[in-house]
Amino acid sequence: MGKRIGLEASLAVSEAVKMARADAVAAYPITPQTHIVEELSQMVADGDLDADFMVVESEHTAMSACCGASAVGARTFTATGGPGLALMHEMLYIASGLRLPIVMAIVNRAYSSPISIWGDHSDVMAQRDAGWIQFFAETGQEVFDLTIQAFKIAEDKRVLLPAAVNLDGFTLSHVIEPFDMPDQEEIDAFLPAYEPQVILDPDKPVTMGAVGFPEIYTEIKKQQNEALLGAYEVILEVWEGFEKAFGRAYHPVESYRTDDAEILISIAGSTACTARVAVDNMRDQGKKVGLVRTRLWRPYPFEETRAAVKGAKAVAVMDRCLSFGGPGGPICSELRSALYPLPEKPVVNSYIVGLGGRDITLQDFYTVVEDAERVLSEGPPDEYQYKMIGVRE
């Protein structure tokens, strides 16, 4: 059995990479991801992690080198966030197109300009369609668990796609939490060594990354999409196995006090901790409020999402990302799409919160629930699209 310790969430990522026995890491330091790579560097320096750590000159090269290492059969990891993720953008699509099971921690950080080192989800939302499996973590324990699971899911021969674990910059990455550290043997039993399917092997030469002319490109992209859709079942299977081995249950959507709830708060990431306290407080006041948290972002859990909000009158979706000139936050847009075919569905309101590290307070949750109540009683104004919460005007 493992032991219970206090551990910073960033270091939980590094521990997961070590216990997953990653072979190759390529990374470039960027706030707020630095603690992960510093810890990994120390692990390699001390001989605790037997991996080749390429401390490269950019995130673009980090992901490129990950592609190379993964293509020869190495279990491969990187970590970045914010502008670093943006610099990887082109490579992210290629990693998934080449079906390379790279695992990445994204320490969520806002995009420039103005430059901000603090957290929001603008970075990952701009990579939403890159073909990666994408998770949002709430706690350090979850960051660790998802990272271990990500290797197992990504490397499954029914999947063979890269996977990313999102953790909020600073508000999760730099937080020290109680943490159940498993034994190496437990991890080894859950996550065996990577058995690659196709690699760059001089004995069996293959061509990877060929030119796709119009007559074949669509078919290849369809295959890739089917792999990502098919990953859903594998994810559920891996989570079932994980629960059996470690006792912690994982679902694509996490619900809290939703049974008789009329208004649901929908959020992703570490802010759910605050949301839970807000829900409890509002429940104490007699309000029928609950919380649904998005854990699995891609492949999008349509059925689980529909089930999670069933019976509610309104959903207040709080996005840490603004789609400029668009219909609201990205998580809200997806939820609206998922619910659109249903004959009976809740009103879905979009709220933008916590941009560039702005604190998301208990009051913000009260505000959006009050606004949802008002919309339910009065109906939305004609131009109603989304509201930015906590703006100083």
Binding site: A26, V56, S64, G68, L200, T207, V211, G212
Partner: protein, 321 residues
């Protein structure tokens, strides 16, 4: 001294007859890059992994479901051949250390890029990979412009050449900047081996490629590759134009091993540059005074190389690692 794996002296008869860059690729007639690749892969042999950047070579060799590669080959993007090769090399190294790769099998990891993928968009990735001392060979096949996309200028396009984005015009000579000196920039990273070569001189190219592949650590080959389409010359002139470039001192053949430069074909009497320029349509607009200016620049560069070679012959040991 440069660390090398030991093998016997090279002789042409040692070359295998099997083509690892297969016939049937879609290169243009007279493609200098395709010719160079055949020669390079003959030396590299089957224990090779090639990481190509986007460009002519990638397009002509990998139209799915066809491939011209009889060695494992990966193309990821335009700007990162060196970064992908770095990952391949590091991956093999750690798998070997962990006992999941044959311990005694040396793999030639090659990053292959054109001049745009080297001197422009892939410059940073190249510099990073050299600095990190990956055990790989970076090969730049230089045809002096973005030929795949339609003859646009790169920073490797020579002064005076007309391209579609540096066109000669009423008030322009064409390319107005100096060709970026990639071999010297690479050499400034103090890597064990840097060489220039041209498929018009196959034995010289093969010797250099062999040394590059056998050297432990990062090595760099800058291969001058005439391009009939982009340079506007008859396709049966590619080899001859490569020779003229060398003989005129436009593209001197040299190598820098352990920091010491050696001119491989030191010529006391070079051909006039005009003999090289007049073979190609891209220079056809040049006036006599332009040719004079190019001759002056070529002379200056060549003299600098001669001087450096003489200094290095005196011997300063700059070997490292």
């Amino acid at each position: 001294m440069t660390e090398q794996t030991g093998r016997a002296k090279f002789l042409p008869r040692h070359l295998p007859s099997r083509e690892l860059f297969a016939e049937g690729h879609r290169g243009c007639q007279g493609c200098g890059e395709a010719l160079a690749l055949r020669q390079l892969l003959e030396v590299a042999g089957p224990d090779t992994i090639v990481c190509s950047c986007t460009g002519c070579v990638e397009i002509i060799s990998s139209p799915y479901p066809e491939t011209a590669w009889r060695v494992p080959w990966i193309h990821v993007a335009f700007e990162n051949a060196a970064a992908v090769a770095a990952g391949v090399e590091a991956g093999i190294k750690i798998l070997r250390k962990k006992g999941r790769y044959p311990a005694d099998r040396r793999i030639n990891v090659i990053a292959l890029a054109g001049d745009g993928g080297t001197a422009d968009i892939g410059f940073q990735a190249l510099s990073g990979a050299l600095e990190r001392w990956h055990d790989f060979t970076y090969i730049c096949t230089d045809n002096e412009a973005y030929m795949n996309t339609g003859i646009q200028r790169s920073s490797s396009t020579p002064y005076g050449a007309s391209t579609t984005t540096s066109p000669a015009g009423k008030i322009s000579i064409g390319q107005q900047t100096q060709k970026k000196d990639m071999p010297m920039i690479v050499a400034a990273h103090d890597i064990p081996y840097v060489a220039t070569c041209c498929p018009s001189y196959p034995l010289d190219l093969i010797k250099k490629a062999r040394r590059a592949f056998e050297t432990i650590g990062p090595t760099y080959l800058h291969v001058f590759c005439p391009c009939p389409v982009g340079w506007r010359h008859p396709s049966d002139m590619s080899v001859e134009i490569g020779r003229l470039a060398v003989k005129a001192g436009v593209f001197p053949l040299f190598e820098i091993a352990d920091g010491k430069l050696k001119l491989n074909r030191k010529m006391d009497k070079r051909k006039p540059v005009v003999e090289y320029l007049e073979t190609q349509g891209r220079f056809s607009h040049l006036k006599p005074e332009d040719v004079e200016e190019i001759q002056r620049r070529v002379d200056e560069n060549y003299q600098r190389l001669v001087h450096r070679a003489e200094c290095d012959a005196g011997g300063i040991d700059r070997s490292r690692h």
